[in-house]
């Protein structure tokens, strides 16, 4: 039977299978974005401004989406525990600021300080996920939530003293949002920034993402990266081939956590603020649905998925409010975003994947 299939893989069939693997929901979302792009000038929105917005949002979020890749590759599923990595990033950011670094140095130091936290948290998180193989996604979600709420207490209790970070009246406890002006606000975006009319391209941020994406791509081409993919594809095969499955999974979790930490720092430099307390809660689901929209599944993801997904998702998110508001004076973009992003995750969860144990 399969011999038959082997014989005739014409280009039409390939096209059909490409369509099938792309999936209906993605088609709809891509179609929606095209419609939005066409509609934007028609309803009087500045087209290039829209494009700038999309690129900007892409540059903020892409690293967070990239953080999904390692864990998907090693078969740990979608990293709903992204907030844990984000917390490492937040620790890096706040400590860097507290230590008095400013300008570009504060960004470099934030990354450096966030790294050991990310590794430490990643190891703990990876250890836990190795104990509960098969139930990763649900537990990851709640590990994320617990850690966020735990850190809420810590932000209040840790001895931060820098006046522009803590509540003025009490002198202790971090503020919910901390402005990054004078620190690393737009530090990457301003680097080699290109302006053509109303189109602004944050070259530095894009290059930074490209650099990380390249590293990820390169890693997946090394011996270890290959082993990680094999673990995700078939853990028993990997075990039989002498791979330490748990170690590979752990590595992927650490990588994912670290990328999330870097991701939030990149996000902050674009956004201009550090958001603390309950803010990291909101971060996992958009990243998860972005990579799924990009064509990834629960156990397969590539760099291309990250790029396509982030563009599509952020495109929808940034363009719908303006276009909708201009067109029908009813801003249903937020609701639309919820339906689209969660619908995408649901779609991915209901796809049958090869049963593995």
């Amino acid at each position: 039977m399969s011999d038959l299939r082997n014989a005739g893989t014409g280009w039409q069939e390939r096209l059909v299978s490409a369509y099938k693997s792309f999936g209906l929901p993605r088609m709809i979302i891509a179609g929606m974005l095209v419609v939005l792009l066409i509609a934007a000038p028609l309803v009087g929105a500045n087209f290039w401004m829209q494009i700038t917005n999309v690129i900007n949002r892409f540059s903020w979020n892409s690293v967070l989406v990239l953080a999904m890749v390692p864990m998907v590759h090693s078969g740990c599923g979608l990293n709903f525990g992204l907030p844990l990595g984000i917390i490492s990033g937040l620790l890096g950011a706040t400590i860097s600021l507290e230590m008095g670094f400013t300008g570009p140095m504060s960004f470099v130091m934030a990354i450096l300080i966030a790294t050991p936290f990310a590794i430490l948290f990643g190891i703990g998180y990876g250890w836990l996920l190795n104990k509960i193989k098969g139930g990763e996604m649900m537990i990851a979600t709640y590990v994320g939530f617990s850690s966020v709420s735990f850190m809420c207490m810590m932000w209040l209790l840790l001895p931060y003293r820098k006046p522009d970070m803590v509540w003025g009246y009490a002198g202790t406890g971090l503020r919910t949002t901390i402005s990054l002006e004078g620190y690393y606000d737009q530090i990457l975006a301003k680097f080699l920034q290109i302006r053509i009319g109303s189109l602004v391209i944050p070259t530095g941020s894009l290059l930074f993402f490209a650099f990380l994406a390249f590293l990820m791509w390169a890693f997946l081409h090394t011996k270890t990266g290959t082993a990680m993919t094999a673990v995700g594809s078939n853990p028993v095969f990997a075990k039989a081939a002498g791979i330490n499955v748990d170690k590979m999974r752990m590595l992927s979790v650490v990588l994912s956590t670290w990328l999330a930490a870097i991701g939030i720092l990149v996000y902050q430099q674009g956004f201009g603020f550090i958001q603390l307390y309950m803010a990291p809660f909101n971060m996992a689901l958009p990243a998860v649905s972005a990579i799924l929209i990009g064509g990834a599944s629960v156990n397969k993801a590539s760099i291309a998925n990250v790029i396509i997904g982030t563009i599509l998702f952020q495109g929808i998110v940034t363009m719908t409010p303006t276009v909708m508001n201009n067109a029908i004076h009813m801003d249903i973009s937020e609701v639309l975003r919820m339906v689209v992003s969660n619908g995408m995750i649901l779609y991915a969860l209901t796809r049958k994947t090869e049963a593995k144990s």
Partner: protein, 170 residues
């Protein structure tokens, strides 16, 4: 067949209960006025004091030009009033039954008109609340996760748990 019958019966029963509830549970607000009333050229003066009782409970004590309020559910409403025309004078008891149209949320009755036995259109009016000028749209936060910043139990507004609040301050 038997089952379909039973099922249909259950659904009809539920709908019947629902309809019943809609009738007996329909809430109305009734406002009592002790105000001077002009009807077909005749002027009816407000009295010194009227006490309004619903089910034996006093809901309003109305001096001249005052308005009282009561709420009730259903379409039929009965209340007693005690009329005192002079200070320390004798009181006069009257009982009234009125029917309220289903569609009206609130009605205003002029007690004077009722006491004088005028026709219904003289003393019954629909209560139309004065349009409140509101400031711009209130912000609807429909954030996906919607953890309130102070992370209370959902919907528990502090005002409703005064005990907890005061206790925590002490």
């Amino acid at each position: 067949m038997r089952r379909i019958l039973f099922r249909a019966g259950t659904i009809v029963l539920l709908i019947a209960i629902a309809v019943c509830m809609m009738i007996i549970g329909r809430g109305h607000t009734i406002y009592f006025d002790n105000k001077t009333l002009e009807y077909e050229g005749t002027k009816y003066e407000a009295v010194r004091r009227i006490n309004v009782n619903v089910n034996g409970e006093q809901v309003a004590k109305l001096s001249k030009k005052e308005r009282g309020m009561a709420t009730f559910t259903g379409q039929k409403f009965s209340f007693d009033i005690e009329i005192i025309r002079e200070k320390n004078g004798p009181s006069e008891m009257r009982t009234f039954n009125i029917e309220v149209p289903y569609t009206m949320d609130g009605i205003v009755v002029n007690l004077i008109g009722m006491i004088e036995g005028l026709p219904q259109d003289a003393w019954l009016k629909e209560f139309i609340p004065a349009p409140v000028v509101e400031e711009e749209d209130e912000e609807i936060i429909i954030d996906e996760f919607d953890i309130p910043a102070d992370a209370r139990e959902p919907g528990t507004v502090p005002a409703q748990e005064p005990d907890t609040e005061t206790a925590s301050e002490s």
